[in-house]
Symmetry: C2
Subunit: 384 residues, 2 copies
């Protein structure tokens, strides 16, 4: 049905009407005092969501832009980088590091697995000469629906002395991430996920230690340069003409997070995803990530029942029920489908997607007790 499409993909995610309407206003001058006030509010609220006292830079760029900005402001050719890879997006941090001329070593696990902190500790313990300059990792890997234990991993990195560069693109504002308390050195995120804003903005915060290391970075960066960008943050401004309308929308999104309370936002994501997992299990569907402890609370990967294809499920969900879920990526294409519960998502939405998935599987001839998924979900939501 026209205009009815509802996104349950890892991103972009659904955007509240109030954000959309803020964005639909005529742009204002980016050097005006009105816009400076908007930025002041945005910069302050970003610190709240990042759980940090560090300044948060706002780039007009995709999340990948912030990944690039994080690494290109730290890495010199030849630097030793350890990349913890659990899927496509954590792989990207390794690719960027390699492009920058770093000597990249990868610890990789099977998709559906998280990094085992003991494996990291063992590797870093061996690095007695402290050759490893930085470790890249992801909090939430949307290609598989796995969440790393960033708190423990970062504490191990901290003990070694390397910098930690954490991709929080699909986690910040949805999954707990205490930048300062856990001692994360560089943390990035993007507008189109937990922040409930369309894509186009990305965020970066760096610790004092990262700023120190940055001083020795020889690579010239203009657009993504940390120094010029932070200087503008401190002046409630931006270094270059920003995406004015998206930033106005971001202000509204951040205010909604503050109003709900970050802890409550995080708890909501946990509850909805656990409810979804409960419902999928009740439908006898196999979850790609077995272990509840590492299962993402923002994206859930599901295997299709035997004899039913992922494209068929996605097609019916989209054509008949106006719901978009994601396919698997690369080697996982057509092997899994992924349901997002990220950002502006409520109990109603999860009830809807479970019901629509039941209807879809019913049409495709899957044998199961109709209504059992929704029933299990409702029970879960009421008891938690």
């Amino acid at each position: 049905m026209k205009d009815k499409s509802f996104l349950m993909i890892p991103g972009p995610t659904p955007v509240p009407e109030s954000v959309l309407l803020t964005m639909a206003k005529h742009p204002i001058g980016h050097r005006s005092s009105e816009f400076s006030k908007i930025l002041e509010s945005v910069y302050s609220d970003l610190k709240y969501v990042f759980q940090t006292k560090n300044d948060v830079i706002v780039y007009t760029a995709s999340g990948t832009g912030a990944m690039d900005a994080a690494l290109s402001n730290l890495i010199n050719p030849g630097d030793k980088v350890l990349s913890l890879v659990i899927g496509n997006f954590s792989q990207r941090l390794a690719k960027i590091s390699t492009a920058l001329g770093a000597d990249v070593e990868i610890i990789e696990v099977e998709p559906s697995q998280a990094i085992n902190p003991m494996v990291l500790k063992e590797r870093l313990d061996k690095d007695i000469n402290k050759e490893i300059k930085l470790v890249t990792l992801i909090q939430n890997e949307t290609s598989t629906g796995v969440t790393n234990d960033v708190k423990t991993l970062v504490s191990i990195i901290k003990e070694h002395g390397a910098l930690s560069v954490v991709d929080g693109v699909t986690s910040i504002g949805a999954i707990d991430c205490k930048m300062d308390e856990w001692g994360i050195d560089v943390l990035i995120s993007g507008s189109q996920k937990g922040f409930m804003v369309p894509p186009g903005l990305s965020f970066l915060a760096a610790s004092e230690k990262a700023w120190e290391v940055h001083k020795d970075c020889k690579r010239p960066d203009f657009y993504f340069n940390w120094d010029t960008n932070r200087k503008s943050v401190l002046a409630n401004s931006t270094a270059f003409t920003p995406a004015v309308n998206l930033i106005a929308g971001l202000k509204t999104g951040l205010e909604m997070i503050k109003e709900e309370g970050l802890e409550n936002v995080i708890a909501r994501h946990t509850k909805l995803s656990k409810g979804l997992r409960t419902a999928l299990k009740a439908l006898n569907l196999k979850l790609f990530v077995d272990d509840d402890k590492i299962a993402s609370t923002t994206i859930t990967a599901v295997l299709p029942p035997e004899g039913i294809s992922v494209p068929d499920i996605r097609k019916i969900l989209k054509n008949d029920y106006d719901i978009e879920v994601a396919n698997g990526q690369n080697a996982l294409k057509d092997k899994i489908f992924r349901i997002g519960t990220l950002g502006f998502v409520s109990e109603r939405d999860v009830i809807m997607v479970v019901g629509a998935l039941e209807a879809t599987l019913y049409k495709l001839g899957y044998k199961f007790e109709l209504g059992s998924g929704v029933a299990a979900l409702i029970k879960y939501l009421n008891n938690n």
Copy 2:
């Protein structure tokens, strides 16, 4: 008055309601077939506005991002770059080149002046060993309101053999710029100017010759990398999650340009700016750019009458008449004010700003024949 503000600054520029409403729709998935169709239309229409057969890359970034992308994909440290500087924005191209390690030589003229083609020719003629690898220049310098004769300058650069990198951020879609016919090697622009869209997107097209030179560029670039980004253009996709809503708005903006016809759009800018200059002269105001031939048709810089300050003029225009005009930049701050006639601007808007400026000057005690500016403007518009 709340919500009444009208922008007549060099950018962001006014945005049509249809673009704003397109942008206010829920974002769609950036890997969906619907979005691919939007991109197909956008990529095709961008070629029309750029007057080129080259692929046009769309970056989610400010115009400065595209400047960075242009130079960082061509320059190796030590390369000799000649930068033609006529104001702040053309200066930025020199700064980025310097940051990239180029050996930058600058030809600079007084603000209010354009580059004299003969001076460029003389310099390039001296470069008998063809050491100069590329020449950076701007078509329309908004800090002063001067337009370079890009056609002639590029023909001289072409004759020498160097690459031409042209900043068309505030000219493309407003001032004639025939990329292919004139032989421009790299041309960039941004969404928030002639394209009638809010800021957040920038565009880059490169000639075959520029692509050849790019092959020898040793600098690794991930986010702005030409190759990965062009590969996605050819697949009607984007390399990374783009600003989906802005691109939807861009489609609408481009369709409006096509419907009006690029030639008519360019003629409208010429007519409105010449009308504005006529009106300002009738008010006995001094124009910063004397020479009609190099005066920008998108931004007009004006000196305040003696005894009246730029801040007072801007304040009254804004507070009493809800019109924002720009101050001068850097050394020109408070020396000039700048009136934009860029993008979604009609005769009505120019009549409005001239009338409001008369009202402002009247309040500030300037002695002139009230109504004479509007009268001169109306006559001009009717006779041209």
